[in-house]
Symmetry: C2
Subunit: 518 residues, 2 copies
């Protein structure tokens, strides 16, 4: 999506109409948001292969089961539903788990206070989100450092300002300057105040999940939340086969409030499961279905997403690896399996993920590889679509822009190819002839401004110009883009009374407990 | 396919068995070569859309036609076949062109003097090749400079040494230190002497095409070549709708010798055709079919590939752009159309292409995007799979390695996901339990060495180690890899008498004409 030095027929090209519009710096409110995939999804596995993986998942839950550590409420819910409970172990007779999942909706909305930011999870829709969970941030000016609340707010602003992300994310980066037990308050406030896109609330303790939901109730109204999901909570499984009480407790809080849960087993092949893609796929499905079932036991019909966080590792060195062919196969298979289960799916370590330490060639190669597997398979929700470096340890401001650029390109591709008489433009051929160019045909003049996706990055120009300008890498050219986006960011309006109520809630919660830093 | 800093459970990982084997530096002769795609191809367009594009292509050839400039032989062949000829213009009544293409084989082999390097074009097979046509090369040691014969030879050696390319390419880079009218002799000699992989011969004049074929006859035998294709000639169309006599003349030389032709229209949307992807697709198909038909008129059954070189341009600035969503849509559609025509297809500006001036994040993002569209659609022959920078102006030694790495990863993905009891490894779950790791299961111990694709690039390591080692980008880490490959390159054997005959032929041809530098 970038330019080369080979300028052809420069003098003949269509006249610029005023300054080239750099759409990415326009206010978010003016830009169309593409959520719909108009091209087919890629079907990796056959019906037979999918059935075999489902049978393996069923076998795992019949024979291995999961443990709910210290969550008697969850265990009791499963016992009542007919599961085989022994101590903290929960197993499922063949067919039971799928039956418990059957009330989960196939498609649902996450509502925004601004209609254009309401999104659909499921069907032919995609939801792109920024990275999640990095303790560090980096940019080319200040280098790598612990993330702060200001960084967190910056990424919320950037995600709000682009049409290429649909969701504000959750813990986009850790605001490490805020006590651990109070961070969720500042993060949820930033999502609600600085953005109107759907977001994720706290999950690191059930009471933090409750605080997050309470803040959403202040903005949207208590009754509204009873029937409308506006937020998500991410529930990680301690794979293999463990749900700890923090996670299952937070899951229950979100489900009770009818807010969306995303259940994410976390399996690196060879560590938390066998090394083979088929085994990782089956185990992810099995562990994930248990979380989906729990949401439905708490509140039938509760919106839930089957997630995953799987990847490969180098088993010679112990390093985690991302964007790998084996991980991409699992991502594509899981999308098919979630569709068969009838639950929206979050990409399993898809998105734009990498183990690289800088936004270099490796980072973008890994990221593009992961993104194609994720998006072409028809995944509904894509975490880590922008910013992720170092296996998630760091959010990079420059990679965020480079990733956004690819999100925009992929969303353009999602619109597919128009095959009709206007596109064929037979009349153009009457205006030209063999050997003549099409730069000035009426069709080109009509379409040139919007025919092609335009990169967010400034054009590097031909080699000699690029050299003169300091041989700037893509990351260096992205540096100015995020700054410009932050400069031109316009905060959405929020009712004053609501804002004051939010602030009062936060203040009260903060003074109610001493700071905790662990 | 790379490593991160998050080392988990390092002490538990399987013991290294001696030094980690870096398979990429093993002699080519020991490594398996994957040519077969075991995963489904992606079908972008519906039957209806494909039919509409075919109808547009037919309309173009009925109403616009092509011009064969100064090639009376080609024009006469078309006239005899029933085409409508007026001067140099050739048009085709509905149905005629497809009928003329019908003798082209759907699948065929390019033979090597070493059976393991014989490749299949068509079906579920893929042929990856290095870049083509760059006047410049670049590496991190010596920077960007005009390419020489030594560079050319280096890239032939590198392509020979990797299992991730199947073909030696053609004018991988221009040996600018050799006179223009003699370069083809040195290039073909390098392909024949330094490699055993199939290759492309000269096309810049019909007599250079004849020299190239003559040299192949010396190696393979004249009779053998009559019934076995061992090489290809790339025939570029001067889009829109022009075949010049150099190209159509060279096409006829290859076809007469029963050697493979690749016909490549060259269309940048808005310049050599309308700006819309559907129009570019139809025009490429139309122009390409004419070349395919000509090969069949010269020699029915002659092996031919429907190629393309299409992409987008920034119509505000005139810059060419690569790896764009619009170009990727065309690539995917053309593969479907060629399959319907029954002719193997060369990627249309797929492969790992970019306008970037350095092997940075942009370069690899563009390249991975182009590669996925190309490979997933089931394209049979992929030019520019390694090394391409600056819209083809430069071959980069480092990008060559980074691209190779992705070729290897994609070929691994092509093998698909094994879904069977060994992969599921039920016994692993008996060896472990909830919360326990799989690092030492017998299944992991059995599979760890080969389960995952292993990157060609040295591991960057965790952030702190990477920083201490000089914060090397992927390109910097690739720098040592190509040097090591050249160091360990082993030349294939070639019969002495044949080699002397080749050298004598080249010497005779070189002395028969004065140097020409244009």
């Amino acid at each position: 999506m970038h330019s080369t030095s080979q300028k052809i027929l420069r003098e003949d090209r269509p006249k610029r109409r005023g300054r080239a519009r750099r759409t990415q710096t326009q206010p978010s409110s003016e830009l169309p948001i593409i959520q719909h995939r108009s091209i087919p999804s890629y079907q990796l596995l056959s019906e037979t292969a999918l059935s075999k993986i489902e049978a393996q998942a069923d076998w795992l839950m019949e024979n291995i089961g999961v443990e709910f550590r210290s969550d008697e409420v969850a265990i009791e819910l499963f016992r009542e539903a007919g599961a085989t409970v022994k101590g903290e172990s929960v197993k499922f007779e063949l067919g039971l788990l799928r039956q418990l999942c059957s009330t989960a909706p196939e498609q649902f909305k996450l509502h925004s206070r601004v209609p254009r930011h309401t999104i659909t999870l499921g069907g032919d829709n995609v939801v792109l989100m920024p990275g999640y969970g990095s303790p560090f941030v980096t940019d080319l000016d200040k280098g790598r450092r612990y993330a702060t609340l200001e960084d967190f707010q910056n990424f919320v602003k950037l995600s709000y300002s682009t049409p290429y992300l649909h969701h504000s994310g959750g813990t986009v980066c850790e605001p490490t300057d805020i006590p651990v037990n109070k961070r969720h308050l500042d993060m949820v406030y930033a999502h609600l105040k600085l953005s109107t896109k759907p977001f994720m609330g706290g999950v690191t303790a059930p009471e933090r999940a409750r605080d997050s939901i309470e803040m959403a109730r202040i903005v949207f109204g208590k009754e509204y939340l009873e029937s409308h999901a506006v937020m998500q909570g991410n529930i990680n499984v301690n794979s293999p086969f463990i749900y700890d009480d923090t996670m299952s407790g937070s899951l229950r809080v979100y489900a009770e409030a009818n807010q969306c849960v995303c259940v994410s087993p976390a399996i690196f092949g060879g560590a938390m499961g066998p090394v083979t893609p088929a085994a990782i796929t089956a185990q992810t499905l099995a562990e994930g279905m248990v979380g989906v079932a729990l949401t439905q036991l708490v509140r039938p019909g509760c919106p839930v997403v089957l997630g995953s966080f799987h990847s490969t590792m180098n088993l010679r060195t112990g390093s985690l690896t991302f964007g790998t062919p084996e991980a991409n196969l699992v991502t594509m298979a899981l999308t098919q399996l979630a569709n068969r289960l009838g639950v929206p799916v979050r990409s399993g370590t898809g998105g734009q993920i990498t183990a690289a330490n800088a936004p270099d060639g490796q980072a973008m190669q890994d990221s593009a590889n992961g993104m194609w597997a994720t998006l072409l398979s028809g995944t509904h929700q894509v975490w880590h679509a922008a910013g992720w470096l170092e296996g998630g340890l760091t959010m990079s401001y420059e990679k965020f822009i480079m990733d956004l650029d690819n999100c925009g390109a992929m969303l353009k591709m999602f619109q597919g190819m128009a095959v009709n008489e206007d596109a064929f433009s037979k009349e153009s051929y009457a205006e030209t002839g063999p050997g003549q160019n099409f730069l000035s045909t009426s069709h080109t003049m009509k379409h040139f401004a919007n025919a092609n996706y335009e990169s967010l990055l400034p054009d590097a120009g031909p080699y000699e110009m690029w050299l003169e300008n300091g041989s700037k890498t893509a990351a260096e050219r992205a540096n100015g883009v995020w700054k410009k986006m932050l400069e031109t960011y316009e905060e959405p309006s929020l009712n004053d009374a609501i804002n004051r109520e939010l602030q009062a809630f936060i203040a009260a919660r903060k003074t109610s407990m001493p700071d905790e830093w662990y």
